[in-house]
C-alpha cells in the first residue's frame, strides 16, 4: 500500500505543481459555465413572450393576446411551445380548447405576470367571466429552465474532458520521456500505477463537484432536489470511470498529437450524444441503446436525476453499472496491452 500512496502523492504533486492544470480543471469550466449560464438566463426585459399552441380557435386567441402591448404572442406547435417554455424562452403557453389551459413555469418570475396579462386579455373580450376564461396549470417538474438542464451536463462534460486530457496527457508524456519504461523495470505493481491516476483524479473531482454545486446554487439558483452526498459519489464514480477511459486512450499512443486526436475522437461524439447541451431524446430511436451505454450519458442522466428530480443512489443502478463497466474494462485491457516502452 505504501507504493500506492507514494504513486497517488506523485500524481497529486504533478497536478498541484502545474498551474496550467489547475486552470483547465477549475477556472476554465467555471468560466464556460458562467458564460453559458448567463447566455441562457431568462431575460426579464422587454415584452413577456407567450405562445398559443396550434389547435381549433388558436388563431383567435393569438389575435386577442396581440392586443395587449406587454405581451408578445405567437402561434406554434404544442411540442415546440413546451420545449421553449422549459428553456425559459417563453413565459407562458396557452393551449386552446373550450376552456383554454395556460402552462406556466412556477420558477419563472415572468410566469406570474404573463398569467395576469393573459387572464385580463381573455376577460376583456367579455365572452365569459374572468374566473372561467381559462385554467392555469403550473408545469411542475422541478428545475425545468434551460440552465437547470445545462449545469449537470456541464459538470459531466467537465469531469469527462478533464479526466481524459489530464490522465492521457500525463501517460503519453511519461512514455515519451521513458519514465514508463523505467517504472516497468521496477517491481511496481501495474494496478497500483493505474489506480494512482484514478484516485488522484478523483480528489480533484471532489473539488470540481463542489465548485459546480456552489455556483449552480448561488449564481443560477439551480435547485437541488437530491442529496449532495449522492451527487458527490456519482461525480467520483464519473471521475474514476473517465480516468480509466483516459488510460485506455493513452494505451498505445506515442505522441501527444496522436493522443489528442484519440481524446477528441472519444469525447466529441459523447458531448453531442450524451445530452450535455440538449436532451439526447432528440436522436432517433435506433441510436438510443448506443447512447445509453455511453459513460457520459450515464453520468449526465444520473447527475440530472439527482439534482432535478431528487433521485437516490438506489434508483441509479443501471447508469452506475454502465460506469462500472467502463471503469473495469479499460483497466483489464490496459493491464494486458498497455505500451510501457
Amino acid at each position: 500500500m505504501n507504493a500506492l500512496t507514494q504513486l497517488v502523492l506523485m500524481r497529486l504533486r504533478m497536478l498541484m505543481r502545474q498551474p496550467e492544470v489547475l486552470f483547465w480543471t477549475f477556472i476554465f469550466p467555471l468560466v464556460t459555465s458562467l458564460v453559458l449560464g448567463l447566455a441562457f438566463r431568462n431575460d426579464t426585459l422587454g415584452p413577456v413572450r407567450v405562445a398559443v399552441a396550434e389547435g381549433p380557435g388558436a388563431q383567435a386567441l393569438v389575435e386577442r393576446l396581440r392586443d395587449v402591448p406587454e405581451l408578445s404572442a405567437e402561434l406554434t406547435s404544442e411540442a415546440s411551445a413546451r420545449r421553449r417554455l422549459a428553456r425559459g424562452q417563453l413565459a407562458l403557453v396557452l393551449l386552446p380548447g373550450d376552456v383554454p389551459e395556460a402552462l406556466v413555469d412556477p420558477s419563472q418570475p415572468e410566469g406570474r405576470s404573463a398569467r395576469l396579462l393573459v387572464s385580463q386579455a381573455l376577460a376583456a373580450s367579455g365572452e365569459a367571466p374572468p374566473s372561467t376564461t381559462f385554467k392555469a396549470t403550473p408545469v411542475s417538474e422541478p428545475g425545468n429552465r434551460y440552465v437547470d438542464f445545462l449545469i449537470p451536463g456541464l459538470l459531466g462534460m467537465s469531469l469527462m474532458s478533464n479526466s481524459l486530457w489530464v490522465v492521457a496527457g500525463s501517460l503519453v508524456s511519461m512514455r515519451g520521456g521513458r519514465l514508463l519504461k523505467r517504472l516497468a523495470a521496477t517491481p511496481m505493481r501495474r494496478t497500483h500505477f493505474f489506480l494512482s491516476f484514478m484516485l488522484a483524479r478523483s480528489v480533484f473531482a471532489l473539488v470540481e463537484v463542489a465548485f459546480f454545486c456552489a455556483f449552480a446554487r448561488w449564481l443560477f439558483s439551480v435547485p437541488m432536489f437530491g442529496s449532495y452526498v449522492t451527487l458527490t459519489l456519482v461525480g467520483l464514480a464519473g471521475a474514476l470511470c473517465f480516468s480509466s477511459v483516459g488510460v485506455l486512450v493513452a494505451m498505445r499512443a506515442r505522441s501527444e498529437e496522436a493522443m489528442g486526436g484519440l481524446v477528441n475522437l472519444v469525447s466529441l461524439p459523447m458531448m453531442f450524444l450524451s445530452g450535455v447541451f440538449f436532451a439526447s431524446d432528440n436522436f432517433p430511436a435506433w441510436l438510443q441503446p448506443v447512447i445509453g451505454f455511453l459513460p457520459l450519458t450515464a453520468i449526465n442522466d444520473s447527475l440530472r436525476n439527482i439534482m432535478l428530480e431528487g433521485a437516490g443512489l438506489a434508483s441509479l443502478g443501471m447508469p452506475m453499472l454502465v460506469l462500472a463497466a467502463w471503469t473495469v474494462l479499460p483497466l483489464v485491457l490496459a493491464l494486458r496491452l498497455f505500451r510501457w516502452t
Partner: protein
C-alpha cells in the same frame, strides 16, 4: 543461498532482430558475481539492445538469458526486485523534489535502502528539496543512479551513465560504482568512454555490429594490439602510409582528420625511422606526440573506425 562463484549473468547465442535489421547477432556473456563488466562499442553497435534484453525490457528473438540463476519468462517479478538500472535519457517527474522521487522508487521494493542514505550516496543532500526539473544534467544522472540503487540491487545496469556529463559529475558517479563493487555488487555498464571503461571495469566486452569482437581485461585487450606506444603526427604533406607500414617496428598505421597515428613496438627504434619517412616525403612536421595505446586504438585496429568518432557521427 547461492554460491559466491555462481554466474550473475549467463547469455548464450543472444539474437535480436527488428524486421530485417539484426541488432544483436549471437552474443555470449558470462559475468561473475561482484564483477564490473563494461560493454563497449559505438552507438548502434547493439549495446543498449543487449542490456535492455538483460533488464527484461525487450524480448530476445533467440538465445538464452539467465540472471542470478533466473529467467525472465518465469521469474520476472523476483528479478525486478533484485536488479537496478539507469536508462539513457530518462525524463523523471519534474514536479517532484529529489527526496519525493527517491521515496517513490524506494516504495516499490520489498527491502529498500534508506531514502537519506540513497541521497547521500549520490551526493545530492543539498538538493534534497529541489525540484527534479531544476537539476543540472549531472545531478539528474546522479538522481537516476540513486533510483537505480533504491532496491539495494544485486545486479546493476548502467546504460551510458556519464554521457554528456561534466568531469565532476563523472567522478562522483565513478565513486559510487567503485563503492558498489566494494560491496560485492555486480555492475554491467555500457559506455563509449575509454577512460571510464579502463577505470571502472574488471573486464570489457567490445561489441560492434551486434557481435562481440574482443573481450578480456582492459590491459589484456590493449596488449593484444601488440603495440607498446602510439605516435601521433601531423605533417604537410603527409608521409607515405605504405612505407610507414613496411617499417619493422611499426604495428599499424591510420590516417584520418589530417593526423597520422602510428602504433609501434619499440618507440626508441621506431621514432627516428618514422621521422626519416616524413623527411623523405619532403614533409614539414606540424605536430608530434607519443602516448600509451588506449582501447580506442584497439577499436580502430579492429574496425578501422574510432569508437568516439562513430558515436559522435551518430549523435550529430
Amino acid at each position: 543461498m547461492t554460491h559466491q562463484d555462481e554466474l550473475a549473468i549467463e547469455v548464450r547465442g543472444l539474437v535480436k532482430r527488428f524486421g530485417d535489421f539484426t541488432a544483436v547477432d549471437g552474443i555470449d556473456l558470462d559475468i561473475r558475481r561482484g564483477e564490473c563488466v563494461g560493454l563497449l562499442g559505438p552507438n548502434g553497435a547493439g549495446k543498449t539492445t543487449t542490456v535492455e534484453i538483460l533488464e527484461g525490457l525487450q524480448p530476445a528473438t533467440a538465445g538464452e538469458v539467465r540472471l542470478l540463476g533466473m529467467r525472465w519468462a518465469t521469474d520476472a517479478a523476483a528479478l525486478r526486485e533484485r536488479i537496478g538500472m539507469t536508462l539513457q535519457e530518462t525524463r523523471l517527474v519534474d514536479q517532484l523534489t529529489v527526496e519525493e522521487m527517491v521515496r517513490l522508487f524506494a516504495s516499490f521494493y520489498p527491502r529498500p535502502l534508506e531514502v537519506e542514505a540513497l541521497i547521500g550516496l549520490v551526493q545530492l543532500g543539498e538538493k534534497r528539496h529541489a525540484r527534479v526539473g531544476k537539476l543540472s544534467g549531472g545531478q539528474k544522472q546522479r538522481l537516476a543512479l540513486a533510483l537505480a540503487l533504491a532496491g539495494d540491487p544485486d545486479l546493476l545496469f548502467l546504460d551510458e551513465p556519464t554521457t554528456g556529463l561534466d568531469p565532476q559529475s563523472r567522478r562522483a558517479l565513478w565513486d559510487v560504482v567503485a563503492q558498489l563493487k566494494a560491496r560485492g555488487r555486480t555492475v554491467v555498464l555500457t559506455t563509449h568512454y575509454m577512460d571510464e571503461a579502463e577505470v571502472l571495469c574488471d573486464r570489457l566486452v567490445i561489441i560492434d555490429r551486434g557481435r562481440v569482437i574482443a573481450r578480456g581485461t582492459p590491459r589484456d585487450i590493449i596488449t593484444s594490439l601488440g603495440a607498446e606506444q602510439v605516435i601521433e603526427l601531423e605533417a604537410e604533406p603527409a608521409p607515405d602510409l605504405e612505407r610507414l607500414r613496411a617499417l619493422d617496428a611499426v604495428v599499424g598505421v591510420q590516417h584520418h582528420g589530417g593526423r597520422v597515428t602510428v602504433r609501434v613496438k619499440e618507440l626508441h627504434v621506431a621514432l627516428p625511422e618514422v621521422l626519416r619517412e616524413v623527411a623523405v616525403g619532403g614533409g614539414q612536421l606540424l605536430h608530434l606526440s607519443t602516448r600509451r595505446p588506449t582501447l580506442d586504438d584497439v577499436f580502430i585496429d579492429m574496425t578501422g573506425r574510432s569508437l568516439r568518432e562513430s558515436s559522435e557521427a551518430k549523435a550529430a
